[in-house]
Amino acid sequence: MNPLRIEPLGDAALYAEFSRTLDLRINEALQAVAAALRERAPPWLRDVVPSLGGLALHFDPEHAALPEAPLRAATDLLLDCLKATARARTAGREVEVPVCYDAQFGLDLDAVAAQTGLDAAQVVRLHAATEHRVLMVGFAPGQPYIGGLDPRLAVPRRATPRTRVPAGSIAIANAQSVVYPFEIAGGWSVLGRTPLRVFDPQREPPSLLLPGDRVRFAPISRQRFEALR
């Protein structure tokens, strides 16, 4: 795997772009590179942020050990780690996320069923059947972007975003699933809700899901949902 481009991101970071479209294989390789980078990061390299199709390295511009040419040094380190992980695969943790797909949580189940020509029960079955993978945690604290959606569930974003999507909602669009850690506005189609806390600053790690995690959505009843809350 080779970067398409490595370029500065502001004056204290770089962005290495590996893919302009969603490619699960490239994303998986990115997780391995990110892990290697984090292991070998010098103290002035503050953040290693894998995203859907690339990787950002953020420097601490005030750090005493910052090299004369941080971009050069970070690029060399990145290329080294790329070589070292050429054949590596990160196993990723296996995480089961319980989801209640009841109609009162799955606000868009019927709409997705209508768009895909399936019925609501089939939509749930397809969403829960495949192994998904966390491609990126970003935008908001602990918010996972999850790949591995069954192609039969391909739907675009909703024409009109909801102004409030409840915390824990699981929604799909753009061949991905997302789990909203907080009540926020969102334009993805909501299929259900997890009783788990997606982000808890008092927990270690604070994020329920980490980049590279393998995720299964396990359908649960309303009673089970209340019990797990």
């Binding site: 370029e7 500065p8 991101l9 502001g10 004056d11 204290a12 970071a13 962005y15 772009e17 893919s19 302009r20 479209t21 969603l22 990110a34 503050r46 953040d47 290693v48 942020v49 894998p50 995203s51 859907l52 199709g53 690339g54 950002a56 953020h58 601490d60 511009p61 005030e62 971009l71 990126m136 945690v137 970003g138 935008f139 908001a140 604290p141 602990g142 918010q143 972007y145 753009n174 850690p181 907080f182 982000f199 600053p201 008092q202 790690p205 604070p206 994020s207 980490l210 980049p211």
Partner: protein
Amino acid sequence: MSVRVLRPGMLTTVQDRGRHRMQHLGIVPGGAMDPVAFELANALVGNLQGEAALEFTLLGPQLAFEAAALIALCGAEFEATLDGQPMPLDRPVLVTSGTRLAAGRARRGSRAYLAVAGGIAVEPVLGSRSTYLPAQFGGWQGRVLRSDDLLPLAPECAALSGARAERLRLPGGAPHRTVPWSAPSLTLPEREFIVIHAMEGRHFGGFDADSQRAFFDATWRVAPASDRMGFRLLGPALARVDGDELLSEPTCLGTVQVPADGAPIALMADHQTTGGYPKIAEIAGADVPRLAQLAPGAALRFVRCTLAEAQALRRAARQRVESARRGIAWKYQS
């Protein structure tokens, strides 16, 4: 030891240097919007570890000190009084127990930092005392201050304040003792519009020629709908040549992204860690604290710079801060 909030002001939060090394979990560093003024406020009261301070925004709070404390207010020029007398800005001031600080409007700039010897003693969350409002954690209960809040100060605040006032040889007699010197203002807007250095962003070439020119030619105004996450800029609408959806990718402090409506947003301290909007520019890190001092309606222009120039600006800005901090440290030692 505490400070009672009599009136909260427009948007007063606890902030420090921010929480780092967690952007892969979607957690942005956050922290003081104007870290330069924040560091100087701390230096003035003898704090050296980035102790938590209060960030005032446009309209300041009214506070009552329930113990003697060495304090300093740095950054925007607030109309501020101590028990009705004008409060000296950019200086260490020793206030007595019962003193009331009333901050009115910001005359110049928009954010100031109230540092207290020993810092604001809220519990750190994920390694920082900064308030992160979008997810409601950190700082004081994850929110802006409200009337009747009782903010904890460091238990050693009074002792530290007394000892540091001694070292500064604050003259006796007056109820609010201060020094005859002050720290420089390094980030306040110097005239009607300010110039902000910016590099071409990753997607600059994807904008049409008119938009590329307009970005660096136009006078932009900070929109009212601007906050700690981002400053929306009012000016000519910017348009892309192609309308391809971009994959969501990492952003950084100072990224200028352009949503579909064509109005650019400069990402500030509490920005989202990733985003899918095209990046037309990246603001030089040295100029972000100056941008943070602009109030809604204030004007700015962007001037193009290279990465090398941005790095040089950063070094120069850092030297100015270091030199001011050395000057203050010298007052503590002499």
